[in-house]
């Protein structure tokens, strides 16, 4: 004949022990404290880290966006100057990005920031002086502006319209891209 032995029905020790209750409070307090610290420290660290990452990305953009002014041409008495600017960097520039550029032009001691004149012969800019551009090289050699992008290795023609006819002397041209990098060129007419 089999006999069954039941386990003892004693309550768990921590229910009975005041030490265990203290430990329980300690655990809860630790969880709350760590949660509070985590919720403030981790986002802070992430914020600082992201700021560094953003700065590094911005530095990379500046390095990759390089231009070289290869030639500028104007004749005395004329009111136009052609400047040829080549994308010698590693990133492409869209037409809207180029329009965000800042252009300075003028003779020594008479340097002016020019308005962007768009493709309407400067009427939108209120007339000369202004600058506009033409993507003379879309990479296919067809002198087309169809792509609307200045890819690495390609060249654009910056057209400057002056308010007064050019006279002989030294002239300075500077273009600053939307990321803040500047490229300049000095030439004489």
């Amino acid at each position: 004949m089999m006999t069954l032995s039941l386990p003892s029905m004693r309550p768990p020790p921590f229910i009975r022990s005041s030490n265990a209750i203290t430990e329980g409070f300690f655990v809860v307090a630790a969880v709350i404290a760590v949660s509070l610290v985590a919720s403030s420290v981790i986002p802070g660290v992430a914020l600082i880290s992201n700021a560094f990452a953003g700065q590094a990305a911005q530095d990379k953009n500046k390095v990759d966006l390089q231009m070289t002014v290869i030639f500028a041409y104007g004749v005395p008495g004329s009111t136009t100057v052609d400047v040829y600017v080549k994308n010698t960097g590693l990133t492409s520039l869209s037409t809207p990005s180029i329009e965000e550029s800042v252009v300075f032009f003028g003779s020594t001691g008479a340097l002016h920031m020019l308005k962007y004149g768009g493709n309407d012969n400067g009427s939108g800019a209120g007339g000369p002086p202004y600058w506009s551009f033409l993507l003379v090289d879309d990479g296919s050699g067809t002198n087309s502006t169809s792509t609307g992008v200045l890819n690495p290795g390609q060249t654009m023609e910056v057209l400057i319209a002056t308010a007064v006819p050019l006279s002989s002397g030294n002239y300075y041209f500077q273009i600053t891209t939307y990321v803040g990098t500047s490229f300049d060129y000095t030439f004489s007419i």
């Binding site: 300690f26 990379k60 040829y84 090289d137 002198n143």
Partner: protein
């Protein structure tokens, strides 16, 4: 049992530290990768700028709508035939129609007779045929413009842009890296 709270608290603090360290390390690695990429790009651009050179050896007016020039690769790096379209050729001349001075950027041409510049042949420095990396001239689609090799180029203008052949003409040539060379008749 008495140490349970301490153990749990220590564990949580360890998790917090690990998580913070993980966030920091993750971004640090991203920043390092970006910085290495930036340095690499900077070196690449600087290297192209230093090592890519070309020199216009001769310029000749063939007639009012054609100009011939010879250009030597004086740099230390080869230029692929497929990159020739990134070379700029600008003519500075007096027009035949009204005698005004002008500069004209010429597109790279891959077909005869259309306005633009085209490579008609490529030779070694002494004028011999290219044995190494030959180009399928005229209008090359493969091959390499090696250092010291000479490209023979013909620039074709439209009749509306005709040259005053009795006046001086200058040619500015820019390499894909933006380095320039000027030649005159």
């Amino acid at each position: 049992m008495a140490a349970l709270g301490t153990v749990v608290a220590a564990g949580l603090v360890a998790i917090l530290l690990l998580q913070t360290f993980s966030v920091y390390m993750n971004t640090s690695l991203q920043v390092s990768a970006l910085q290495m990429g930036t340095a690499n790009d900077q070196a690449s651009i600087a290297s192209a700028d230093i090592n890519t050179r070309a020199q216009v050896d001769s310029v000749g007016i063939v007639n009012q709508t054609h100009v011939a020039l010879s250009v030597e690769n004086t740099g230390t790096v080869p230029i692929q035939a497929t990159s020739l379209q990134q070379v700029d050729v600008i003519l500075i001349y007096t027009t035949a129609s009204n005698g005004t001075d002008r500069a004209l950027w010429m597109p790279y041409s891959t077909t005869p007779s259309s306005p633009g510049w085209a490579v008609v042949s490529a030779t070694t420095a002494d004028g011999g045929p290219k044995v190494l990396n030959p180009m399928n001239c005229p209008y090359p689609t493969y091959g390499v413009w090696d250092p010291s090799d000479v490209l023979h180029i013909v620039v074709t203008l439209s009749p509306a842009d005709a040259i005053n052949a009795t006046d001086t003409l200058a040619v500015l040539l820019a390499t894909p890296a933006g380095t320039t060379s000027l030649g005159e008749t």
